[in-house]
Each structure stands twice: as C-alpha cells, then as structure tokens.
C-alpha cells in the first residue's frame, strides 16, 4: 500500500519534472514568439474591434462588415485565392515530375540537381531585371513570338500577367520542392518496388499504387511550403509592377501594404485577422488530410 502510494507520488513528480524540463528548453523560443508575434497579434485583434486608435470605442464586427464591402479587399482576396489555387498544385505536381525524371539513370544527375536549385541564389533585384527584359512589351519573349508571326503581348498589363508571375514562382520554387520529393522517393522500401517489378506491374501502377502513397506526407509538406512561398512571390510582383499593378495581380499583400501606408490600422487589422482565420482553417484541414492519408504508411 505504502509502496504504491510512493510510486504514484514518484510518477507525478516525474511528470512535473518532465514538464519543467520541457519548459526550460522551450522557453527561449516561446518567450520570443510571445513578445514578437503573439502579444502584438492580440493587439491587432483588439484594433480590429475598435473604432479608431484615438477614440478606442468598441464597435464589434463593424470593421469586418466594412471590410467585406470593400471592393479592393474582395478583389485582392479573389486574386490571391486564384493564384494560390493555380500555383500550389502546379508546384507540387511539376516537382514530382522533375523528381521522377531525375530518378532515371541518366548522366549529369547531380549537376542537374544543382541547376534546378540555382534559382534560390539569384538576388531578387536581378530576377526582377531579367523578368523585365524577358516579358517587357519590347522584350525577348515577344521578339521570339514575332519570329512565328504571333502578335506582341503586353505581359504585365493583361490577363497574361498571372502567367508571368506563375512562371516566376515555379522557376524559383520547383528545385527545392523537387529535392524534397527526391528525398521522399529515396525513403520508399526498395523491396516493395522490386516485388512490383517481378509481378510485372506497369510504371503507372507503381507510381499511383506505391510511390504516391509513400510520398503523401511529403506532398502535404511541400503543399505547406509552397503555400508560404506563394505569398512570398509578392516581393517580386511588387518590385516588377509597384503599388497598383494590373487588376489581376492585385493581391491581398498589395491591399495590406497600401492600407499600411495610408495608416488605416482598423481596416488593416481586420484584414490580418481574416487572413489568419483562413490560414488556421486551411492548416487544420491539411493536418486532417495527413491523418487520413498517412495512416497506413506511418512508421
């Protein structure tokens, strides 16, 4: 009886110890995150609910209703959504294709890998200059098209602008995504593929029935990274086209940037909160999806 009691006591003391130790290790990061991200985000939420920094009266969801009536915000939201819906799946699928291509026994494999990664190094300023040379109305791409008798396209000032940005995004991110998939492919148990070979399975079957299943955690990981990076492409878009680009390119980041410049903190905070909520829902869905798909290949 006594020993049982003391055992239980020891156990709870262990847990308490564990908790303290884990806190020790986590605290530097947690402290910094709290000071630089969590607390100020709380303030942003507060700002989104008040009338103005001066009067500070509580107005409920007024800022949000006004935000959802703001045509610039709605357009920016639509455009951002469209871009992400196009860019993220493309970045995932094309990266898988590249990774599969490099699985073949071809010469210069590691050189190819380096080349695909090279876009990560090029400074933004240089990327922007080159994109201008390529896609300007008098630029190289149009000159090239003219050789085939095609009309010149105003790449930055038409619905094609989305394609230009899409190309930029893919060029920049495919290499790294490809590396992630190569790593994922390398983790597939060889025996499984050998058995499939012996059984005479087709390449397609091997891909969909074996490889893709094992890649599913990587697919989700790359999806999340690509989502982050699809927001980061704003940097280049901004440097290419400025505060007010062609309508199709007007992203949420433009909206927030411009709102920040005009010092409308209420509108900005409300937009930030809406964006955060959308992200939370999205990530929760992705996590659920991983639970769903990853079940049978865990371990």
């Amino acid at each position: 009886m006594v020993t049982q009691m003391s055992k239980r006591k020891a156990k709870s003391r262990d847990r308490w110890n564990d908790f303290l130790q884990s806190l020790c290790f986590l605290s530097p990061s947690l402290l910094g995150v709290a000071v630089f991200f969590i607390v100020p985000f709380g303030v942003v939420v507060y700002y989104s609910l008040i009338d103005g920094v001066g009067s500070r009266s509580f107005v409920g969801l007024d800022n949000f209703t006004r935000l959802f009536q703001n045509s610039a915000f709605l357009m920016a939201g639509r455009n951002t959504l469209r871009f992400s819906v196009l860019a993220v799946p493309l970045a995932v699928v094309l990266a898988i294709v590249l990774a599969l291509l490099l699985e073949a026994r071809i010469p210069l494999k590691s050189q190819f890998r380096t080349f695909f990664l090279s876009p990560m190094m090029v400074p933004v300023a240089s990327v922007v200059l080159i994109w201008q040379v390529l896609f300007n109305f008098n630029g190289t791409v149009n000159e090239f098209l003219r050789l085939f008798g095609a009309d010149k396209i105003d790449w930055f000032q038409s619905e094609y602008s989305l394609i230009v940005v899409l190309i930029l995004f893919l060029w920049k991110n495919l290499g790294y995504n490809m590396i992630l998939f190569m790593a994922g492919l390398a983790n597939i148990p060889r025996e499984l593929l050998e058995v499939a070979d012996v059984e005479g399975a087709s390449e397609w079957y091997k891909f969909f029935a074996i490889k893709l299943r094992y890649l599913s955690p990587t697919v989700l990981f790359v999806t999340i990274l690509s989502l982050i990076n699809s927001f980061k492409v704003f940097r280049e878009v901004y440097l290419l086209t400025g505060d007010y680009p062609y309508e199709e390119l007007y992203m949420l980041q433009h909206f927030m940037n411009n709102t920040f410049k005009s010092l409308d903190y209420q509108k900005l905070s409300a937009a930030a909160v809406v964006m955060a909520v959308v992200m939370v829902v999205l990530i929760a869905l992705l996590f659920k999806a991983e639970d769903w798909f990853g079940k049978d290949v865990e371990g």
Partner: protein, 291 residues
C-alpha cells in the same frame, strides 16, 4: 526492350537538359551581363529601360550571354569608386549572420523540447507555431511594427534581427527532423545517467548536423534577399541591406545592378556548393508535416 529503355532514357535526359537550361538562365545572365560595359548594356536593353542620355540603342532588345568585350568597369564602379555598395554589403552581413546563428540555436533547443516531450499542450503550441510560420509577412507586419515601436528599437537593426531570431520556421523543420532520431538512443543515454542537456548536446545535435546546416542555408537565403522588412522597419537608408538598395537601382545603372547582384550572390553560391549534400540529406529525413 533494351533499345526502348535507352530511348526513354535519352528522352528523359533531353527533358532534364531543357529544364536545366531554363532554370539556369537567369543565374548565367546575371553573371555574364555583369561583365558588360554600361554602353553595351544600354545598346542591348535601352529599348526597355529607356534612358535619356545619348549613345547607340538597339532597335530590338538584345538578350546576350557573351559580352562583346569583357569589361570590369561595373565592378570598379561598384566596389572601388563608390563605398556605399560595400557599406550596404556590410549591413547585410550585420543583419543576416546574427539571425541565422541565433535562429538555429533557439530553434534547436525548442525543437528538442517538442521532440522529447509530447502532450496535448505541446502539440497545441506546435500547431500554433505552424500557423505563425504560414502567416504572410503582411499579416505580421503590423504586430512587428508595434512591438518595435514599444521596445524603442524601431529604425535600428534590432527591429529586424530580434523577430528574425524567433521566427518559427526552423523550429518546425528541426522538430520534423529530430523526431526521426531513434527513441532508443535517447532512452539508453538516459539509462546511462545522462541529463537532458547532455542528451541534447551529445546525441541529438550530432545526429542532426546536416539538418542544422540545411536549415541555416535556407534561413540565410531567405533573409539575405529580404526587401519588405527593412523598407518598413529600417527607414534609415544608411543601415539598409544591399538587397533593398539593389532593388531600388534606377534604370541608368542596369549593368552596375548586375555586377553588384553577382557579388551579392557569392555567399549564397559558396554555401550552396559547400552544403548541397547537407541540404539534400538534411531534408531527406525531415518527413511528414505533423510528425
């Protein structure tokens, strides 16, 4: 059968080659164009970046890889004649090096905590980190600005370095990696009487050397090319990094921009060439999103 296989390999090789050339193009262009004189740059790209001063301008844009005459004039202008580029370069180093070192350090300790101890509370916090990591910069911009203002570090380097150190990105990646370390390793060390700090430094860190290195590369590249943060938090032009300054170079100095971009690329290039294997290896074991 064998012939068919060779054929498909040939096609694969060609496909890779086409992709590789397209991917490499901007890097090569940046480097080769940096060896052109301003006159040559102007005659090539004058159509696009209309400059008012005279000189020959080609009617059509002229994307050239090999300069007519190799000229170091851009480098001389940028590196010797005007000290401001080197000054900005130094600013970049002052901003990015502390961020990389301390972000990885803080993150490795935090990742150990997320790896070693699980539980409802901790997985909740981890989920929170993932959310924070995913927030576009424009969402964290206002919070960042506010905190810098309160702490009185607005317009100093610290307004960029401190939030950079605590960015949750590397915590996430490192946690993914550490969770792959066999639990038996940690258990046996514990049986042998090692304390948590010892397990962390003697077992965990050596096990994820390549991950640490690959994360350092990623963080470096991300911050080396930052533009938005300094524009808003560091309005003193003398303290801004070269990445911002390069982006604001005006149309008359395209050649100079290419030359300075090339110089700016050198650290990333060295890190890559030295660490590509780590980059691949470090990622190979990072596994799933949730872990």
């Amino acid at each position: 059968m064998r012939k068919k296989r060779y054929f498909s390999r040939g096609v694969t090789f060609l496909l890779c080659l086409v992709f590789a050339v397209a991917f490499l193009l901007p890097t090569v262009l940046t480097i080769t164009n940096s060896f052109m004189s301003e006159a040559e740059i102007k005659s090539n790209y004058g159509m696009i970046f209309s400059t008012t001063t005279g000189g020959y301008v080609s009617k059509t844009v002229n994307l050239k890889f090999i300069p007519d005459k190799v000229s170091f004039s851009q480098y001389i202008t940028g590196l010797i004649k005007s000290p401001e580029y080197l000054l900005k370069y130094w600013n970049s180093i002052l901003l990015v090096v502390p961020i990389v070192i301390f972000q990885v350090a803080v993150a490795s300790v935090a990742a150990y905590s997320f790896t070693r101890w699980r539980g409802k509370l901790r997985s909740g916090i981890f989920f929170f980190y993932v959310i924070l990591m995913l927030m576009p910069y424009q969402v964290t911009l206002v919070p960042n600005y506010l905190v810098s203002d309160w702490l009185g570090i607005l317009n100093t380097r610290w307004s960029i370095i401190l939030p950079g150190i605590f960015a949750p990105f590397s915590v996430f990646l490192l946690t993914k990696f550490m969770r792959r370390i066999p639990y038996s390793l940690i258990e046996s060390a514990k049986v042998d009487g090692a304390g948590e700090w010892q397990i962390f430094t003697k077992i965990c860190l050596p096990q994820c050397r390549s991950a640490l290195y690959s994360i350092a590369i990623l963080v470096f590249i991300d911050y080396w090319n930052m533009v938005e943060q300094p524009l808003i938090l560091l309005q003193d032009a003398d303290a801004q990094p070269l990445s911002v300054f390069l982006s604001s170079i005006n149309a008359g100095e395209i050649g100079l921009a290419f030359a300075m971009a090339t110089v700016y690329m050198i650290p990333s290039l060295l890190l890559f060439l030295h660490g590509e294997e780590y980059l691949v290896e470090g990622i190979a074991n990072s596994g799933s999103v949730k872990g």
